[in-house]
């Protein structure tokens, strides 16, 4: 069995009157847009504008408070976990905290999605995991649990895991925070490599690291444009 690749492809990504935020705090109201595809997109915006929440919505991990998020003209907010799975298999999501499974070794963390979805032979899984671990200099700590390795390595393991399913779309939320400097180049190289040889097409990155973004970003998506303005003080309003 070779690596399973979902029969779906992402043709369109669109949002219609989307409202989202954190708890009861709505940052973005009425976001209607079509997202650029086949590009490295920098999702930018001021601090607290809701970049992480936006990326979670984009990854299908958060249901917006209101509105629709269309993947290939299908409203993903109406899909169950199982129904969304075909799309999910196309999306790699790496977030700031990472969420490595603490009772598993680094290698098992990377192996988990492939093994769980039963998408490849064991030798292929081993090969793929070894490739990514070596790429990010994690091979020597492969049998350690996340708590026993330095923070930079944990971060690199999280980012490496994003690529494990050979996704078509990658969403990276602050991928460079805590990452070792020489691996920033590795990450850029890996993205470039996967775009030319692999399945990777659409890349969405939220990051403040200008060194990382320089010469790499192809389009910007500014969330500040959609920010809800703070309500004016009462006297001003009067």
């Amino acid at each position: 069995m070779s690596l399973y690749i979902s029969p779906q492809v992402i043709d369109t990504l669109a949002m219609d009157n989307l409202w989202f935020g954190f708890d009861d705090n709505i940052f973005i109201k009425g976001l209607t847009c079509e997202l650029p595809l086949n590009k490295v997109v920098h999702v930018k915006g001021g601090r607290g504008v809701g970049k992480s929440a936006f990326l979670r919505v984009l990854a299908g991990l958060e249901i917006p408070k209101k509105g629709s998020y269309y993947l290939n003209d299908i409203d993903s907010t109406q899909l169950s976990f199982e129904e969304f799975l075909e799309f999910r298999m196309l999306i790699g999501y790496g977030f700031d905290y990472g969420g490595l499974i603490h009772n598993m070794t680094i290698k098992d963390n990377l192996t988990l999605p492939l093994r769980y979805h039963n998408v490849a032979d064991l030798w292929l899984i081993e090969e793929r995991v070894e490739f990514l671990l070596r790429k990010f200099d994690l091979w020597q700590v492969r049998n350690e649990r996340p708590a026993f390795i330095p923070g930079s390595m944990r971060k690199e393991a999280c980012v490496a895991r994003t690529f494990i399913m050979e996704p078509e779309m990658i969403i990276l939320d602050s991928p460079t925070v805590g990452m070792h400097k020489h691996n920033l180049k590795t990450l850029k190289e890996l993205i470039a490599e996967k775009r030319t040889e692999g399945n990777l097409k659409h890349i969405f990155i939220a990051s403040d690291n200008e060194e990382f973004l320089e010469g790499f970003v192809e389009e910007e998506f500014d969330l500040d444009k959609y920010l809800v303005p703070a309500s004016p003080p009462e006297e001003e309003a009067a």
């Binding site: 799975l85 999501y93 905290y97 990472g98 969420g99 490595l100 499974i101 009772n103 769980y116 039963n118």
Partner: protein, 278 residues
């Protein structure tokens, strides 16, 4: 007048509110059982290897590792019950009832309850705190992002492993308490082992099996689903984890004891109806 009336009705309102809370909680917990079973069945992508691995680990931690504690407790309980009941039955002249009494006390009542309490204390707390920490560390979000349904990957195997463990532990408890307890208490009575086992065998009914299976299967399910549910209630901060664990223990005990009481009551009502008393 309005104030007095509201004071009078306040306790009733409070009871009503509490009852509604319990109903809502029970509904949520049952929904979790349904959703985890549904997720395990419908998640076509999921490989069986991982479910079996998590189930085996749960059985190892909950069942196998608890055996030493269960052995001690079963021997103590069995011998205490045999000592007390054989002494009282000898005075009353009903020594041949020892088997019946032991089955009723150990197999039907004490065994399921004590086993459940041990499992709550050992594994329920572990499951609730593990899941709570997973939520805080965003491990659950990471699982979802990889297309792994937490309900089928985390809850379902723990539920299955928990039910199997509780059933096996309760069976083990009963055997050790009935047989081991006899030998521990050997010095205090002159009953022969053959007489004792014959008494047990003659007292044994099919209903004992039904009651044993019913109580222990549901106790296992209640413990693990309540603990998983409470673990998943943790949202943002690590300080919520001990609170969730405490709630998991308290709620599990309440539900397990309540369920055992309900089954026993229904069982005896049925007995009374069979006898024509009711």
């Amino acid at each position: 007048m309005g104030v007095i009336a509201s004071k009078i009705w306040e306790p009733v309102d409070n009871i009503g509110r509490k009852v509604l809370q319990i109903i809502e909680y029970t509904k949520q917990v049952l929904l979790m059982v349904y959703l985890s079973i549904r997720a395990a069945i419908f998640d076509q992508a999921q490989g069986m290897r991982d479910i079996i691995r998590v189930v085996s680990m749960q059985i190892y931690f909950t069942g196998f590792q608890a055996m030493a504690l269960i052995t001690t407790l079963a021997l103590a309980t069995g011998s205490i019950v045999i000592m007390q009941s054989s002494a009282q039955l000898s005075i009353l002249g009903g020594s041949d009832m020892i088997g019946k009494l032991m089955l009723i006390i150990i197999v039907r009542e004490v065994g399921p309850l004590l086993t459940a309490l041990i499992v709550i204390a050992r594994s329920g707390t572990a499951v609730a705190s593990e899941l709570g920490n997973m939520r805080v560390n965003k491990e659950v979000t990471a699982l979802e992002s990889m297309g792994i349904n937490p309900l089928s990957y985390i809850v379902f195997p723990r539920l299955v492993g928990g039910i199997i463990s509780v059933l096996c532990l309760a069976f083990y408890f009963s055997v050790i308490a009935l047989i081991g307890g006899f030998f521990v208490s050997r010095l205090t009575h002159d009953m022969s082992f053959a007489y004792y086992t014959a008494s047990l065998a003659s007292a044994f009914e099919v209903n004992d099996v039904y009651m044993f299976l019913l109580k222990n299967t549901f106790s296992g399910m209640i413990i693990f689903v309540v603990c998983c549910y409470q673990g998943f209630q943790v949202e943002k901060s690590p300080h919520e984890v001990p609170q969730a664990t405490t709630k998991a223990v308290v709620n599990s005990i309440i539900y397990v004891v309540g369920f055992n009481l309900l089954v026993t009551t229904l069982f005896y009502l049925k007995n009374l109806m069979d006898l024509g008393v009711l």
